[in-house]
């Protein structure tokens, strides 16, 4: 853990050619970073993950863009493989902090859809970025330890994606951004997705590794959904098992906006994923799915937040995953209802399957309800694989590893089946199948 920022944020802003307001924002974030402590075990959302932070090499050099570009054929193999079975209307590829390749269907650009790097958007759409950046994930929320990493990220991000879909525009095929770690660096990214009134978009961000090594990635994703906007969003992490991945996502949902979110953690040594939705307008709807599979000595730590500010909104968290070998899985989730959030429907479910006696799972769903006319439920379970089912399948000639695979697939079937991006769901299922077998 570091106590002083490795780079001066104002100099960074100058180097990256940023406007004055952003330089000021970075400076302010740096002050927050220096003022608040690192999360400890007493920081509620970090109860089980704080201990892992000391093993994260935050002192690696900050990844700075080198303005590289690549032809489509020269993209990293991991990305080319993913492109084979993804039908996309456009995609960005980041190699480390460099946007090395970008593609967008011309008809979308004609309709005013913007899909580029955040730094490019600062030049082409400065007012959109200024009005929305740091809105969902500010550097300072409560001024406590939970702000430490967002403050670091706000002060020192060096790359990321920007998406804007104008009012009433529907993007039919999905867009995707591939973030490929390649060096032992501290990579800090930021993504801003902005959907104007009644806009529609499906978007996937994938975090992958090109090679081994202990890269640290800190990623912040801000989702802003104006009234009636509908976003399908996925965040899929399949990085190498020596890397560290700290991700925070926050969605702001206005009246009648709908988010269908998916968080997938399959890779990394330590992956922390915080996914939150703020239901700010009546009729807002946030479905948040999660799928994870921890093996070896992986630690996957998830935190979800369903924050109901407005009445008549709905949210549903459904996180499911598997722990194998000596993996550690954590799920913590909070449903928080403000006094005005009457007629809320909020649900939270976490289910875990254990494939080994040495794997550990902690599951802590929580409710904090200040309204009285609401429907809320939460539930969690942790269960070992059913030996009677295994025996039954074995008596039909199916060897134990295949039987386990079948039961893992069966366990995840309902959550995978709810994923709107079918190609992505198949990809996730394939990666999991490999992880069961190894």
């Amino acid at each position: 853990m570091i106590e002083v920022l490795p780079t001066n944020p104002e100099k960074l802003a100058e180097r990256l050619g940023e406007p004055a307001w952003l330089k000021e924002a970075r400076k302010g974030a740096a002050a927050v970073f220096e003022a608040v402590p690192w999360p400890s075990r007493k920081t509620e959302p970090w109860r089980y993950a704080a201990g892992r932070l000391k093993n994260v090499p935050f002192d690696l050099p900050l990844a700075l863009p080198k303005d590289r570009t690549l032809s489509r054929d020269a993209l990293p193999a991991v990305v080319r493989k993913r492109l084979e079975d993804a039908e996309l209307a456009g995609f960005l590829v980041f190699l480390g902090p460099d946007l090395v390749y970008a593609e967008l269907a011309p008809e979308l650009a004609e309709k005013g859809v913007v899909f580029t790097s955040l730094h490019r958007a600062l030049k082409t759409h400065p007012e959109l970025v200024e009005a929305n950046l740091y809105k969902a994930i500010p550097a300072r929320e409560k001024g406590d330890a939970n702000d430490k990493i967002p403050a670091l990220a706000a002060a020192l991000w060096t790359y990321g994606a920007f998406v804007y879909v104008p009012a009433d525009v529907e993007v039919e095929k999905p867009l995707a951004a591939f973030f490929v770690s390649e060096a032992e660096e501290l990579e800090i990214s930021r993504t801003l997705i902005l959907l104007d009134d009644h806009a529609r978009l499906a978007y996937a961000e994938e975090h992958l590794s090109e090679s081994g090594g202990q890269a640290v990635h800190v990623g912040m994703t801000e989702l802003i959904l104006r009234p009636g906007a509908r976003l399908v969003h996925a965040n899929v992490q399949t990085k190498n098992e020596t890397s560290h991945h700290l991700y925070r996502q926050r969605a702001l949902l206005e009246k009648d906006a709908a988010l269908k979110d998916l968080a997938v953690n399959l890779g990394a040594r330590f992956a922390r994923s915080e996914v939150g939705s703020e239901l700010l307008g009546p009729g807002a709807d946030s479905e948040m799915l999660g799928v994870y599979f921890g093996a070896g000595e992986q630690h996957h730590d998830h935190y979800t937040l369903q924050h109901h500010v407005a009445p008549h909104a709905r949210s549903d968290v459904y996180y499911k995953g598997v722990a194998k070998d000596e993996a550690t899985i954590v799920y913590q989730g909070l449903i928080k209802l403000e006094p005005a959030a009457q007629k809320t429907d909020a649900y939270q479910t976490n289910r875990n399957l254990l494939l080994s006696r040495k794997a550990r799972v902690e599951s802590v769903p929580q409710l904090e309800i200040a309204a009285n006319d609401v429907r809320c439920s939460h539930g969690s379970s942790i269960a070992p694989i059913d030996e009677e089912q295994i025996f039954y399948l074995e008596t039909r000639g199916i060897p134990r590893p295949s039987a386990e695979n079948l039961l893992v697939a069966a366990f995840l079937e309902d959550v995978l089946g709810r994923i709107e991006l079918k190609n992505l769901a198949r990809h996730v299922a394939r990666v999991i199948e490999e992880k069961v077998r190894i």
Partner: protein, 250 residues
């Protein structure tokens, strides 16, 4: 010896309790044997142990399939050698579709992916024989099945996987007469020189429809009497007490 399932002096315990005390039994290919006996005699235990249930400890004795000892093999290895157990209480496996499950099992049984047309031909034939609806193939394995449907599903698997040796553990329990006839039709269709079955049952009723070549009676963890089909009828008429006395007096 080849072409038979042989149990030699089998002693088995479960959670420290002795259940089988020296079972000897031989079922040659081409024959159907019934295994009868009062509750607690160890009939179902014998079926599970032959299939390789890890909850039971074999303390002594051997199980041979076609002359090869399988006592220490994993359940899936036994199955791939042609053994099949129709469960008394089939297990529910939510999330696994019957068709996908059968295809995987058949692939393991054949040692290669079955051609899709052959696979569906097998399924169709089995479903028609059981007068069932193809809709069952897309349901999850035994989930929400009635007791009768679960038993029928065991026979469906038997028909698709075509094992050489089948153990049917109280497949008749909980079935009405129509379902019983359907199940019997399925089993009888398998009869022939390359198939043997050990039909475990408490009652004579099933044996009216699956007529056995040989009847064995188990008591207190051993086979105490072996005879022809008439033995089952005698047990139906007189119960087990006379046999208990006969065994005690011997």
């Amino acid at each position: 010896m080849a072409n038979r399932l042989e149990i030699q002096d089998l002693w088995v315990s479960h959670e420290g309790k002795k259940i089988l005390r020296g079972v000897n039994l031989t079922v040659p290919l081409g024959e159907v044997h019934a295994l009868m006996g009062p509750n607690g005699a160890g009939k179902s235990t014998l079926g599970k142990v032959i299939a390789g249930d890890p909850n039971y400890q074999v303390e002594k004795g051997r199980i041979l399939l076609d002359g090869e000892e399988i006592t220490e093999l994993e359940p899936d290895e036994r199955a791939r050698k042609g053994l099949f157990l129709a469960f008394q209480y089939p297990v529910e496996v939510p999330g696994v579709q019957v068709a996908n499950f059968l295809r995987l099992a058949l692939k393991e049984r054949l040692g290669k992916e079955p051609p899709i047309t052959e696979f569906y031909a097998r399924l169709k034939e089995a479903i028609d024989l059981l007068a069932w609806d193809e809709e069952v193939l897309s349901r999850y394995l035994n989930e929400g099945f009635s007791g009768g449907e679960k038993k029928k599903n065991e026979i469906l698997q038997l028909l698709v996987l075509k094992p050489r040796y089948a153990i049917l553990d109280e497949t008749d329990s909980g079935l009405d007469i129509d379902a019983l006839k359907t199940v019997a039709r399925g089993v009888n269709s398998m009869r022939g020189p390359d198939f043997a079955a050990l039909v475990i049952t408490h009652y004579q009723r099933l044996l009216n429809y699956i007529v056995p070549d040989v009847v064995h009676v188990m008591m207190d963890g051993r086979v105490v009497k072996t005879g022809g089909p008439e033995l089952a009828l005698e047990l139906e008429k007189r119960g087990y007490d006379w046999l208990k006395e006969e065994v005690a007096g011997a």
